[in-house]
């Protein structure tokens, strides 16, 4: 019995070792911090038009960054596709990303960092989500800086101190208003005894469930709760064929009637900050051309429209279609303060602030 078991085990181990040995030379390996649930069908579309096999490792930004750093020179990855500027900035600081050719960097010039190490892929906005059964928008402050003064929200505020978009926002606060203002804001917020969530989706659900009244989040989490990803509205005029296959029903269960709404602070307030997701080619890539082709694909109208209709994020290149429940991109951009995203690279002081405030 034991001998049989050991034998079968050894055979399995050897077979699996042979079967899935390492990376093949010609394949494109993407490390994606964007979740599989959101972007997998886009990758499927790319697979059909790519000339090399495409393999994706999904994880969180920081897990993948940690893996990339531990892998060092031996990393099999070609592309790092991240959720946040902070993660990309960290990758740049650690010398993981190569400089992109001008043709790529100029596609989305408004948000591309001047070092050209990565390209933005989509835009999202910070908002204050609120439960419309419990809160009326007239009572909400003009600036996110005044939110801690609303003592009626004691124990009823949700935030995500561990989540990268929130940390990007705190970095922006620190960089524009100074570290002391940021520190005060954080400790005043802590005095409100906020509920901390690890990610936005459960927080928005808690908002719907009446566990909290207001939540600092990104705009598309609210839209995804209420509208899901738009069904069948996916129209790319130039490309044919693929875009009408709707076999992957990727939307979350939408509830347009959910008592959750978005509140925008006054124009130019940091609470409306525009943030981007992005991607870059890795130094260790043995497929730099294939990597750049994939990045170009992410900026294509096909992929940009996908982001808008399925994920409810804003395109970074003009011309991509946007579902009608999404506020027009120009209007949303007008609300966000002008901000050089490269300033978001230095996460360390932000993490220190969050730890000092006891939020991390």
């Amino acid at each position: 019995m034991k001998r049989l078991l050991s034998l079968s085990l050894v055979v399995t181990l050897v077979l699996s070792l042979l079967g899935c040995g390492g990376e093949q030379q010609d394949e494109l390996v993407i490390y994606s911090g964007r979740s599989k649930a959101l972007v997998d069908s886009l990758v499927q579309q790319y697979r059909q038009q790519a000339d090399v096999p495409v393999r994706v490792r999904y994880g969180t930004d920081s897990q993948l960054l940690a893996a990339l750093q531990e892998e060092g020179d031996q990393s099999p990855a070609d592309v790092f596709w991240a959720n946040t500027t902070g993660a990309l900035g960290n990758a740049v600081n650690n010398g993981l990303l190569t400089e992109l050719p001008d043709t790529l960097a100029n596609r989305a010039a408004r948000f591309t960092p001047s070092n050209q190490r990565w390209t933005p892929v989509t835009t999202r906005f910070r908002v204050l989500a609120y439960n419309s059964d419990a809160v009326s928008p007239e009572d909400l402050p003009d600036s996110v800086l005044d939110l801690p003064e609303h003592e009626e929200f004691e124990g009823r505020v949700g935030w995500t101190p561990a989540y990268s978009s929130f940390q990007d926002f705190v970095t922006a606060l620190r960089v524009t208003e100074g570290a002391e203002t940021a520190r005060t804001w954080l400790s005043d917020m802590q005095a409100l005894n906020p509920n901390s969530y690890t990610s936005n989706t459960p927080m928005v659900q808690a908002l719907e469930a009446g566990e909290i009244d207001v939540a600092l989040t990104n705009h598309y989490y609210v839209l995804r709760l209420k509208h899901g990803g738009a069904e069948g509205e996916y129209e790319g005029e130039e490309e044919e064929g693929e875009e009408h296959e709707e076999e992957h029903e990727e939307e979350a269960t939408p509830r347009a009637s959910a008592p959750v709404e978005m509140y925008h602070f006054a124009d130019g307030d940091l609470g409306n900050l525009a943030l981007v997701t992005g991607a870059g080619a890795l130094q260790t890539s043995n497929q730099p051309d294939a990597a750049n082709r994939f990045l170009r694909f992410l900026l294509s109208e096909q992929a940009q429209s996908f982001a808008a209709t399925r994920v409810n994020e804003y395109p970074v290149v003009s011309g991509a279609s946007v579902p009608d429940y999404l506020m027009p991109a120009d209007e949303a951009l007008k609300m966000s303060p002008e901000f050089d995203l490269q300033k978001l690279q230095n996460m360390e002081p932000t993490l220190d602030l969050l730890r000092d405030a006891g939020a991390l």
């Binding site: 034991k2 070792l17 899935c20 490792r57 060092g72 561990a162 690890t198 566990e211 990727e250 269960t253």
Partner: protein, 552 residues
């Protein structure tokens, strides 16, 4: 360990007196087939430890000290210990009555109840947490169907309930194995000497269950220490939650390594405590003749209370999560079931989990054997080392294996073999307990008799002891298989690229609130795991039957 205080111990094993290094070396030479797997185990545990120490020492000592010594660390410690103690109490309250009901009473349908007591292992903790959260609250299922508004579960209560419900089978199975292996003669003697049933249970039966309590409780405790899925969903601030946040949100591997080391120190303390409590417990039979199964109690009217308890537990721990996922499924029914993706994910899950289960059991056998048959400080360290691997935070474990495999065996990086090894090393602690319990109840005299009849040590073990511990081994494999099916962080980082298990799909979709898409994957995990548990119980009954036949 010839300490004379354990009065319940019927015999002292002759080998247990040897402690001198020369004897240890001699043992190693004679038992090389034991030392190889033991070396693998110790190595596997040391790699992450060395990695964490390396990373932690990269930190600037001043900054590090400030990070470690602050109020938050103390709060984390308090919360972690509080949750662990609470879950231990909760699981005991669920597992002990259920184990007794299914082994010592004549309750009709107890086989089915046994199955219900094991099935929660098929439910991933995070699914349990999602289910509890979906049930409670103003917009929860309870409110919508019965108009019953209970506050949405979160924090300590939520984490405690979800963890108790999803981990009590570890204790249940250990206690069950112990109940089944109990020699009834002690109880009968006590009863013959005029003790009442209740006093016999408390004074004679319970003490004999101590090894099972300890190994089951240890698994539960380590599970609570390491779990991040439940505590992160329930937002309860424990060490592993803080650690998860460090790895998931900040890009700081160094502070994370420090937290991981603190968690390991806590685990070390628990392991020491368990070792102290376990000291000197040997409960195998010493008399001649074969053992009998104890007489079963007739419960009479009490059986309705028994059913109510068992079904209540099953309702919360199995029906509730399965029903919730089933409800998500109806949500997604319009979209159709993604059969192709499901099949691929199922194959990925099983092809990693099944070999890992076998490997873990094979590694655990010599470790447990050494610990039970040759108890010495050395073997105890080895046995404890196996548990340390379980308690090493999986993300740290995965990063350590990345560094190690790229440095030492680069061809193995991102292969299935590495993932299988990682699973096996990580979950081996789950495999040690059942084997150890089984070994405690397998008399060493039998093996010695076989030796004196001319068998080699290995031959004596294979022909005599192995059949006796087979039940324990099967339980070991089941534990590891079920855990590996649900595993997330190791799979995230170590799986071959594009390798996507059922658990990864479930977590990924559920995290984006695409519960409809998560449902088929979650259901498949539960279904396959349940099937596996069912087959296992059938095997266990098959191996019980010959024994029963011998009796008559």
């Amino acid at each position: 360990m010839g300490s004379p205080h354990a009065s319940t111990r019927p015999s002292v094993h002759p080998h247990s007196q040897n402690r001198s290094p020369a004897r240890v070396l001699d043992t190693i030479r004679r038992r090389w087939y034991v030392t190889i797997p033991v070396a693998v185990v110790v190595g596997g545990v040391l790699i992450p430890l060395v990695y964490l120490l390396l990373r932690a020492f990269q930190a600037d000592p001043g900054t590090l000290w400030d990070l470690v010594v602050r109020g938050r660390t103390l709060r984390l410690l308090w919360n972690t210990v509080g949750l662990t103690v609470g879950v231990l109490a909760g699981t005991s309250a669920l597992a002990l009555p259920l184990a007794w009901l299914t082994t010592r009473t004549a309750l009709p349908g107890r086989k089915a109840l046994t199955l219900l007591g094991v099935l929660p292992l098929a439910v991933p903790g995070y699914v349990m947490a999602y289910a509890l959260m979906a049930t409670t609250g103003e917009y929860g299922t309870l409110a919508q169907t019965l108009g019953l508004v209970v506050p949405r579960l979160s924090g300590y209560t939520g984490a405690w309930l979800a963890l108790s419900l999803s981990t009590f089978p570890y204790l249940f199975l250990n206690l069950r194995t112990a109940f089944l292996g109990l020699d009834p003669s002690l109880e009968e003697s006590a009863q013959a000497l005029g003790r009442g049933r209740w006093r016999v249970f408390v004074q004679v039966v319970l003490p004999q269950l101590r090894p099972a309590f300890l190994s089951g409780g240890l698994l539960v405790a380590l599970h609570v220490l390491g779990d991040f899925g439940v505590v992160s969903l329930m937002r309860y601030d424990t060490f592993s939650y803080a650690l998860y946040i460090q790895y998931a949100a900040s890009y700081d591997r160094i502070y994370a390594a420090c937290l991981a080391l603190m968690l390991l120190i806590l685990t070390g303390a628990i392991l020491l405590l368990e070792a102290r409590l376990l000291k000197g417990l040997l409960f195998h039979r010493t008399e001649s003749g074969t053992s009998r199964t104890a007489a079963r109690y007739e419960l009479g009217r009490g059986r309705w209370a028994g059913y109510a308890f068992a079904l209540g537990v099953a309702g919360l721990s199995v029906v509730l999560p399965a029903g919730t996922v089933g409800y998500w499924m109806t949500d997604a029914a319009a979209g159709g079931v993604p059969w192709a993706g499901l099949g691929a994910a199922l194959w990925d899950s099983v092809s990693a989990s099944a070999p890992a289960a076998v490997l873990a059991a094979l590694l655990a056998l010599p470790v447990a054997y050494l610990g039970v048959r040759h108890p010495s400080p050395w073997t105890r360290v080895v046995e404890r080392a196996a548990y340390l691997g379980y308690a090493t935070p999986p993300l740290a474990f995965a990063l350590a294996l990345i560094v190690f495999s790229l440095g030492a065996v680069p061809f193995a990086y991102q292969t299935l073999a590495l993932l299988v090894t990682a699973y096996a090393l990580h979950f081996m602690a789950e495999a040690v307990g059942p084997v150890r319990s089984a070994l405690y109840q397998a008399p060493p005299h039998l093996e010695e008799a076989a030796r004196s009849l001319g068998r080699s040590p290995l031959g004596a073990f294979v022909s005599v002891t192995f059949p006796l511990v087979r039940r324990g081994l099967l339980v070991s494999m089941a534990f590891v298989f079920l855990s590996a099916m649900k595993e997330l962080p190791l799979t995230f980082l170590l799986a071959p690229i594009g390798f996507e298990t059922l658990a990864l799909n479930t977590w990924s979709y559920a995290e984006e609130a695409m519960f409809g898409q998560a449902a088929p994957y979650a259901l498949t995990i539960m279904f396959v795991s349940a099937l596996f548990v069912g087959v296992l119980l059938l095997r266990e009954q098959a191996s019980e039957r010959p024994a029963a036949a011998e009796r008559t």
